[in-house]
Amino acid sequence: MTLTDLEPTQRPEGASDALMMLNGIRQEFPAAGGRTVHALDGVTLEVQRGETLGIVGESGCGKSTLARAALLLRKPTAGEIRFGGQDALAMRGGRLRAHRRRAQMVFQDPNDSLDPRYKVLRSVMEPLLAAGVPRKEAKDKALAALEAVGAPDGAADRFPHEFSGGQRQRIAIARAIATEPELVVLDEPTSALDVSIQAQILNLLLELQESKKLTYMFISHNLAVIRHLSHRVAVMYLGRIVEVGPASQVLADPLHPYTAALLSAVPDPDAGKRERIILQGDPPSPTQRVPGCAFASRCWLATEQCRTEAPPLVRTDAAADSTGGHLVACHRPGEGQEALRLGLTPASSTTV
């Protein structure tokens, strides 16, 4: 079984109440020479209860910054975060700590996300104790979480270095679910693992989502994994969301040329000769905010309008199902994929 064979997950019916809303999040960092890095450039996103929202994009596009903003690690430069209807950025002190148990994170590298000097039980208990759970109860919950993720017997009293990468990631997941959170942010949870272990961890995540009614924000650059797990997909480019919608629509009928280019890069063993879009050049530096579409400098469809006027993230008639919540930020939505389908070779594509 390869990951590309996995079927896309169907979106649960009636799942439409928002657990978390990110509204116009901007995150700027000071850079050398008095410049400013615009890591997040007005991200508006909604995470619905019980769903898995996949977030795709190339390295440095702001995926991890978005995850950290969503977990209230750093106050964004501008924007609003609502969690379960409450203004999350206004929380302070005790309320903030009480909130923290509702949103947890699983990191990419399980070697790094567990303190090497903490025994497993202490690591898993840490978020519970921080949330004010009494020690005895915290221990029971931590042991239950370890059992739920299938950690080996006696794991609780051992150190992280005694485990393999896959088992360590299971322990990290146990830590994340121990407080019974509503939202779990998964920051490339499988990309540091062997391929044979990846599928096990993904299936564990799916099982846990079902049994514990978890909401996932799943960050990855692996489209096959995103396709397997996500109900909805958001595509990021240079700190902006360029396309968001139901996974089945975004991944089958991409409206943004960047999404089309990403998808054409996924190897498909069954397809014969096919068009593959090779993007020219590098993404623009995040220290300069471009006035128009961030992708215009690499887009083969770009017009004068694209370079001067930033396209808003809106619903469009080009979508196959225009009522399905499929949004795109593009002045020429759907044309990229259309061209590929018709066999019209864009200037920068090659046949492989």
Binding site: R68, L71, L73, L96, R97, R100, R101, A103, Q104, M105, F107, Q108, D109, N111, D112, S113, L114, D115, P116, R117, Y118, S123, E126, P127, A130, A131, P152, F159, P160, H161, E162, F163, S164, Q167, R175, T179
Partner: protein, 319 residues
């Protein structure tokens, strides 16, 4: 957990210190003389009565040297402990808080470090007066900036490690994160610096005493014994050689201990439960063979662990 067998520096340093401590504690009792009273003729050579001879006014060298050892050990140990507590706290706060506080604290330590240590100690002694406690305070202040700087850099790395971020996400309070995640993962540089600071403290204390600003008369101290005996150098060289040997032994012992601790706690020696990112403890021979097989150059001096480390001692504890 710590392998002592191949760690000559650690054993040597600890042994010399232990011997000197025993001498400092028991010397006056065994010698049986009052260190500050004349108990024999001046400039007596070593004999059955005065094992290391007597000084210019007939005081017993063996007992005086033991008391000097007492002062040297206590002052270096206590001042280094105080330096460690203050300096580590500053480094931890500066490294974890970052930003302006970091800048402020680090510039402060630089100001202290920019002043020559002896001069600084003299100034402090002038301000807060003579005596044993002011001496220790002065030396503690001299040692603290070194700890602050040495602790700050590992903290800067550690604070961005995922397990620290995870604790922050979980809502663990920052002071608790600093003490339970950051500090325990940065103990190696702290302990190594402790031993080096103590060795430096021995030297500074002797220098101050030599200048008459350290341990006050009539109590003996290695530095003062040297300065008092300089006039009689031609007549009785032993009076200068003995305290010089004491200072040398103490500094060498502390430095050996620093080297030994460094080696013992080094992850490459396979002694510690994974303090570094990504590398699990493993046999150095297999590690070298592994990188050689992968076509990379084996870097010389990866850690002075002998290649004949027993295989079963260092096999990776994987499951």
């Amino acid at each position: 957990m710590i392998k002592l067998k191949k760690n000559g520096a650690l054993i040597g340093g600890a042994a010399i210190l232990a011997l000197l401590t025993v001498y400092a504690l028991l010397g006056p009792l065994v010698g049986g003389y009052d260190p500050n009273l004349t108990t024999g003729g001046p400039f007596e050579g070593p004999s059955g009565e005065h094992w290391l001879g007597t000084d210019n006014i007939g005081r017993d060298n063996f007992v005086r040297l033991a008391i000097a050892t007492r002062y040297a050990i206590v002052i270096s140990l206590v001042s280094s402990v105080i330096s460690m507590v203050i300096g580590t706290a500053i480094g931890l706060i500066a490294g974890y808080a970052g930003g302006r506080l970091d800048n402020l604290l680090m510039r402060g330590t630089e100001i202290i470090m920019a002043i020559p240590a002896i001069l600084f100690a003299l100034v402090i002694r002038v301000i807060i007066g003579p005596g044993f406690i002011p001496l220790i305070i002065a030396m503690a202040i001299i040692g603290a900036p070194g700890f602050a700087r040495i602790m700050r850099s590992p903290i800067l790395v550690l604070r961005d490690r995922d397990f620290v971020v995870a604790a922050e996400i979980a809502g663990v309070r920052k002071p608790f994160i600093a003490l339970s995640h950051l500090l325990p993962n940065a103990t190696t540089p702290m302990l190594v610096n402790f031993a080096s600071t103590a060795s430096l403290a021995v030297l500074i204390e002797s220098s101050l005493s030599f200048l008459g600003q350290g341990v006050q008369a009539p109590d003996p101290s290695a530095g003062r014994m040297i300065s008092e005996s300089m006039r009689y150098m031609q007549l009785d060289p032993l009076l200068i050689v003995l305290p010089a040997i004491l200072i040398t032994l103490l500094t060498v012992a502390w430095n050996l201990l620093a080297d030994g601790v460094q080696l013992a706690l080094s992850p490459k020696a396979g002694n510690l439960a994974v303090p570094t990112r990504g590398r699990r403890r493993r046999n150095r021979t297999s590690g070298a063979a592994g990188s050689a097989a992968a076509g990379t150059t084996v870097v010389a001096g990866e850690g002075p662990v002998p290649a004949d480390t027993p295989q079963d001692d260092a096999t990776p504890a994987r499951v």
